[in-house]
C-alpha cells in the first residue's frame, strides 16, 4: 500500500519536473504565468520527493521488509539510529537522496530569485528541473533501482546493515557529500542560464555564490567525516588512500575552491568570465563523475560498488553536459571577453589566478592518476594503476605552494599594491616564518623531511599573515570607533563576514595541512605481538597488554584487550577491541560462522594536541575457531541422533525429530537451535580468556593529527561566517533588486578599500587612485538606475556603514 503510494509520488515527481522544465522554457520571454507555473512545479516536486523519503524512512523504522530496500539494508536487530541512515547505503536510496536534495536546493534558489534575474531564471529552472527529472526518471525507468520495489511474500527479517557502516559519521558522511555534489547544480544552472540569455555580467554569480559556498562546505565536511571514519573504524590507521572514490569527491571540491576565488575577480573586476564558466561546468561534471564512479565498477576501488544499470545513463548525462556547455561557451566567446586586464602581478586578482592554476593543476594530476588504469589500457593494452606514492609525489609540492598562497592572497589588496606597501605587510609573516624554520631545524628532526619542513614554514607564514590581517583590521576599526580590542575584532569580523570568514577558512586549511604533513611524515607504526602481561615500547610509550576481555551481545562477540600505557610520568588505559558480527538473515548456520563473519576494529585512541596513540588489536582466535568447529561436529552428531548420542544431546535430537514430523514446530525448533548455538559460541568465545593467546597490535603514534580535524572544523566555521546573511536594509520594489545588488556590491568594494587603507595594506597614493576609480564606477551604476536620459546625477555618498 505505502509502496504503491510511494511509486505514484515518484512518478508524479518525475512528471512535475518535466513539466517545470517545459513551462520554464515556455516562459523564457517573460510570460509571468508560465514562470509562476514552473516555479510552483519545482516546489511541488520537492514536496513529492519529500513524501517519498518520508515513506522510505517510515518503512525502515517500521521494519517493513516487504520493501526490497529495507530487506537488503536493515534488520530487526539494526539499531534505530542506523535504520534512519540505511536509506543512503543503498543504490536506489542514494539516488532518491540526490533527487530530493536537488529539489530542495532548486526550490530555495528559485525562491531567492523569484523577483530577480528575469532573463536567466527560465533557463536555469529548465536546467535544474531537467537534472531532477533525469534522476527521478532513472529510478523509475533504469530498472532495478526503484526504491519502492517490493517483495512478496515479505520476509520475516532483513539482511541487516553492514556493521562497517554502523558508525556515527556514516550517518552524515554520505548526505554531506551528496548535498555538496547536488548544490553545485545551482550555480551551474544559473551559469548556463546566463550564457543562453547572454546576461554575462556578475548577476548570476551574486545570485548563486552562496549555493556554491554551501556546496563547497558540505563537500569538504563530507570528505573530513569520511577521513575520520576511515581513521577510527577501518583498523588500518590511515585517513586517505588516494582511492578513486575518494579522489572523485576531492576533485570537484578543488575546482569548486578555484571557482569560489575566481568569481570574486569577475564580481569586482568583470574579468575571467570564460574561465569561471569553464570552472563551474567542470565542477558540476566532476560532481556527476563522482556519482558515476561509485556506481560503475569502471575503476578498481576499495569502495567496491558493483556494476549497475545506472552507470551508462549518468555517463550519458556527463557527455551531454560537457558537449552542450562547451558549445554554449564557444558560441558566447565574443560576449565573454573582458576589456580589462590585470593591472599588476602584486594584486589579489593576480594571486587568485595563480591559486586557480595550482588548484586546477592539482585536480588534473589527481584526475590523471585516478583514470590512469583506463589511460594505460588505451595506450599499452594492459591495465596499470598508480599507487599512493605517485600521488604523494605530485600533490605534495602543489599543496605546499597552495598553503603559501593562502597566506599571500589576503595580504594583498585588489587591483594593485606598490612594492613598498607589499614589503611592509610581508615583513612580519616572513620574519616569523624564518624564525619558525630556524627553530624547527635546530630543535626538531623536521629537517629530515624537507617537504614537511617547507609546509610547516609556509603554513606558519600564512597563519601569522592572517593573524596580522585580523589584528590590523581590528586596530583600524578601533581607531575609528574606539572600544576594546576584542570588541573591535568581533565588530570588524561581523561587518566584513565574507572577507574574514574567508581568512578563517584559510587559517583552517593551513592548520589542516600541518596535521596532514606531520602525521604522514613523522608517523611511527609498528605491529607487535603480545601475550597477556607482555609489553612493548613504541616511541616513548610503554604499552602493556594487561588482560583480554570477551563480551557478547545480540549483535556481536567482542574480543577486547586492556592496555596500560605509560608515557613520561603519566599513564592511562586503552581498551581496543575486535568485534565479530553474528551471521544475519535467519536460518541456523554453524557455530564456527560466529567467528567468521564481518569483523571490525574498535580502535583504542588517545588523542592529544601533540600526538595520537592509536591501537587496533588482531587477536589470534585460531584456537577458538578450532573449538567452534569441534562443537559443530558434536552438534551434528547430536542432531543425527545416532547410537551413543551423549545425554545432553537427547533433547536437541528429540526436538529435531519432532520438527521433521510436524512442520508447524519448525520455526520453534530453529529458534531453539539458534539460541543453543549462540550460547555455545559465547561459551567458546569466553574460553579465549583462559588460553593466554597472543594478540597482534598495530600501534601507531601520529604526531599532530588532531590538528587535521581541528583545522577542518575551523575552515567549516569560517565558511559559516562567510555564509551568514548580512542584515537586510530597506525592502525595495521588485524591479530595482538587481540594481540595488549591484550598488550594494560596489559600496562594499569601496568599504573594502577603505578598510585596506586603514589597515595599511594600501598606500595613500594607491588608495586615492583606487577610491577615485571605484567612485566613478559607482556613479555609472547610479546613472543606470536614474535613467541617464534626464541627466540627473546623484552624489556618491560615503558608504552606508563604517568599516
Amino acid at each position: 500500500m505505502t509502496a504503491s503510494l510511494g511509486s505514484a509520488a515518484l512518478a508524479l515527481a518525475f512528471a512535475t519536473t518535466v513539466f517545470a522544465a517545459a513551462a520554464a522554457l515556455a516562459g523564457r520571454n517573460g510570460d509571468e504565468r508560465w514562470l509562476l507555473a514552473s516555479r510552483r512545479a519545482v516546489y511541488g516536486a520537492c514536496g513529492l520527493l519529500t513524501l517519498c523519503v518520508v515513506l522510505i524512512e517510515a518503512a525502515f523504522l517500521g521494519d517493513d521488509f516487504s520493501f526490497h530496500i529495507v530487506e537488503q539494508h536493515s534488520s530487526i536487530e539494526t539499531p534505530t539510529f542506523y535504520k534512519l541512515a540505511a536509506m543512503w547505503s543503498s543504490q536506489e536510496g542514494s539516488l532518491l537522496l540526490w533527487a530530493w536534495v536537488l529539489s530542495i536546493a532548486s526550490s530555495l534558489a528559485l525562491y531567492a530569485t523569484r523577483n530577480r534575474l528575469r532573463e536567466i531564471v527560465p533557463y536555469a529552472t529548465a536546467v535544474m528541473a531537467g537534472v531532477a527529472s533525469f534522476f527521478t526518471g532513472l529510478m523509475l525507468f533504469a530498472g532495478g533501482v526503484n526504491p519502492f520495489a517490493t517483495l512478496d511474500p515479505a520476509p520475516a527479517d532483513g539482511v541487516g546493515l553492514n556493521p562497517l557502516l554502523q558508525h556515527p559519521s556514516m550517518m552524515i558522511h554520505p548526505p554531506m557529500l551528496y548535498s555538496g555534489y547536488v548544490a553545485f547544480t545551482i550555480p551551474f544552472a544559473f551559469a548556463i542560464g546566463a550564457l543562453v540569455a547572454r546576461r554575462l555580467d556578475a548577476s548570476w554569480i551574486r545570485a548563486t555564490r552562496r549555493f556554491a559556498l554551501i556546496a563547497w562546505a558540505f563537500l569538504g565536511f563530507g570528505l573530513l567525516l569520511g577521513a575520520r571514519w576511515s581513521y577510527t573504524e577501518l583498523g588500518w590507521g590511515g585517513y586517505w588512500a588516494w582511492d578513486p572514490v575518494e579522489n572523485a569527491a576531492l576533485m570537484p571540491w578543488l575546482i569548486g575552491t578555484a571557482f569560489l576565488h575566481s568569481i570574486m575577480v569577475q564580481e569586482k573586476r568583470g574579468m575571467l568570465k570564460v574561465w569561471n564558466a569553464c570552472l563551474i561546468v567542470a565542477t558540476f561534471s566532476l560532481a556527476l563523475l563522482g556519482t558515476f564512479l561509485v556506481r560503475s565498477g569502471v575503476l578498481q576501488s576499495i569502495h567496491a560498488f558493483g556494476d549497475s544499470t545506472v552507470g551508462p545513463y549518468i555517463l550519458g548525462l556527463i557527455g551531454v553536459v560537457l558537449i552542450g556547455s562547451t558549445a554554449l561557451i564557444v558560441s558566447r566567446l565574443d560576449d565573454l571577453r573582458s576589456p580589462k586586464r590585470i593591472d599588476s602581478l602584486a594584486s589579489r586578482e593576480a594571486v587568485f589566478v595563480v591559486n586557480n592554476l595550482l588548484l586546477v593543476g592539482l585536480c588534473a594530476t589527481i584526475f590523471w592518476g585516478t583514470f590512469f588504469p583506463l589511460i594505460s589500457e588505451l595506450f599499452t593494452g594492459t591495465k596499470s594503476s598508480l599507487a599512493a606514492p605517485w600521488f604523494d609525489r605530485y600533490t605534495t609540492p602543489l599543496a605546499i605552494l597552495l598553503v603559501l598562497f593562502t597566506g599571500i592572497g589576503p595580504l594583498l589588496a585588489w587591483r594593485r599594491v606598490s612594492w613598498a606597501t607589499a614589503k611592509r605587510v610581508f615583513v612580519v609573516p616572513a620574519a616569523a616564518a624564518a624564525a619558525l624554520a630556524l627553530v624547527l631545524v635546530l630543535f626538531t628532526d623536521a629537517a629530515q623531511e624537507p617537504w614537511a619542513l617547507a609546509l610547516f614554514v609556509f603554513a606558519g607564514f600564512s597563519l601569522v599573515g592572517l593573524a596580522q590581517e585580523l589584528w590590523r583590521g581590528a586596530a583600524a576599526r578601533r581607531s575609528l570607533s574606539g572600544g576594546s580590542m576584542p570588541a573591535a575584532l568581533v565588530a570588524v569580523v561581523s561587518r566584513n563576514r565574507r572577507r574574514y570568514g574567508g581568512y578563517i577558512v584559510h587559517a583552517g586549511v593551513a592548520v589542516l595541512l600541518i596535521g596532514i604533513a606531520a602525521s604522514s611524515s613523522f608517523q611511527t607504526k609498528r605491529d607487535v605481538e603480545l601475550r597477556p602481561g607482555g609489553s612493548a615500547t613504541i616511541d616513548g610509550r610503554a604499552v602493556t597488554y594487561v588482560r583480554p576481555t570477551v563480551a557478547a551481545d545480540p549483535q556481536k562477540l567482542t574480543f577486547g584487550a586492556v592496555l596500560a600505557v605509560r608515557q613520561g610520568s603519566g599513564s592511562y588505559v586503552l581498551r581496543p577491541s575486535r568485534r565479530f558480527y553474528r551471521p544475519t538473515g535467519g536460518g541456523a548456520g554453524t557455530i564456527a560462522s560466529f567467528f567468521e563473519g564481518e569483523a571490525t576494529s574498535e580502535v583504542g585512541l588517545r588523542a592529544g594536541a601533540g600526538s595520537d596513540l592509536w591501537v587496533a588489536p588482531q587477536p589470534d582466535i585460531a584456537a577458538v575457531q578450532r573449538r567452534a568447529r569441534a562443537a559443530d561436529r558434536g552438534f551434528r552428531a547430536c542432531v543425527s541422533g545416532a547410537p551413543g548420542t551423549p545425554a545432553q544431546c537427547r533433547a536437541v535430537s528429540r526436538l529435531m525429530r519432532a520438527a521433521a514430523a510436524n512442520p508447524a514446530l519448525r520455526p520453534i525448533a530453529l529458534r531453539q537451535i539458534e539460541a543453543l548455538q549462540a550460547a555455545t559460541a559465547e561459551r567458546i568465545a569466553h574460553s579465549f580468556l583462559a588460553e593466554d593467546a597472543p594478540v597482534t597490535f598495530r600501534v601507531i603514534v601520529n604526531p599532530l593529527v588532531t590538528w587535521m580535524w581541528i583545522g577542518g572544523l575551523i575552515a567549516l566555521a569560517g565558511a559559516l561566517i562567510a555564509l551568514w546573511p548580512a542584515r537586510r536594509g530597506r525592502r525595495l520594489p521588485a524591479g530595482d533588486l538587481e540594481l540595488e545588488a549591484l550598488k550594494e556590491a560596489k559600496y562594499r568594494e569601496i568599504r573594502d578599500a577603505e578598510l585596506d587603507h586603514a589597515a595599511g595594506k594600501l598606500s595613500d597614493e594607491d588608495f586615492a587612485l583606487l577610491d577615485a576609480e571605484l567612485r566613478k564606477e559607482a556613479v555609472e551604476i547610479l546613472d543606470l538606475g536614474n535613467g541617464a536620459a534626464n541627466g540627473h546625477r546623484e552624489v556618491v555618498e560615503r558608504p552606508t556603514e563604517p568599516v
Binding site: 583498523g235 558493483g306 594503476s385 598508480l386 599507487a387 564481518e598
Partner: protein, 132 residues
C-alpha cells in the same frame, strides 16, 4: 617593452612550463605504475616483477600462522584456477573469505608474495546485493 609583447612572453613561458610538468607527469606515471592482473594471469607469471593483483579470496582458505597469513585467490568473477598468496602483517577489517582484495607483490615459486601494508580489501559493497 610594450605590454602586448610582455603578455605574450609571459604566456609562452607559462605554457611551456605547464607542458614540461605535464610531460614529467605522464612519463613517471607510465614508469611508476604496476600492472594490474587477475590471479589466473599470474599462475605462470615471471618472477621478479611487481604486479597489482586483484582477486577474490577463496572462502575457507584463510590460514593464519602468527603474523603471517596464507590464503588462495581466484579471479574476481570466481572463475579460473586459484593462486596461493602469502602475506604478513595485519589486514584491514573487511578482509575475509569471499572479499575482493588488491595486493601488490611478486610471484615466487608459484606463490604470490605480497608486500607488507599493500593489501587493500574492498569495502563490502554498498551498492550490490550483499553476498558476503
Amino acid at each position: 617593452m610594450d605590454p602586448q609583447r610582455k603578455r605574450k612572453i609571459r604566456l609562452v613561458v607559462a605554457l611551456s612550463a605547464a607542458v614540461l610538468l605535464a610531460a614529467g607527469l605522464v612519463y613517471t606515471s607510465f614508469t611508476a605504475s604496476s600492472e594490474a592482473k587477475e590471479p589466473s594471469q599470474l599462475i605462470d607469471a615471471a618472477p621478479g616483477k611487481s604486479y597489482d593483483m586483484t582477486g577474490k579470496v577463496v572462502r575457507g582458505s584463510v590460514r593464519r600462522n602468527g603474523d603471517s597469513l596464507r590464503f588462495r585467490v581466484v579471479d574476481r568473477d570466481g572463475s579460473g584456477p586459484s593462486l596461493p598468496v602469502a602475506y604478513s602483517g595485519t589486514v584491514p577489517d573487511p578482509f575475509r573469505g569471499g572479499r575482493e582484495i588488491v595486493l601488490t607483490g611478486e610471484v615466487e615459486d608459484g606463490v604470490f608474495v605480497g608486500e607488507p601494508d599493500t593489501l587493500v580489501t574492498k569495502c563490502p559493497s554498498k551498492f550490490t546485493t550483499n553476498d558476503g
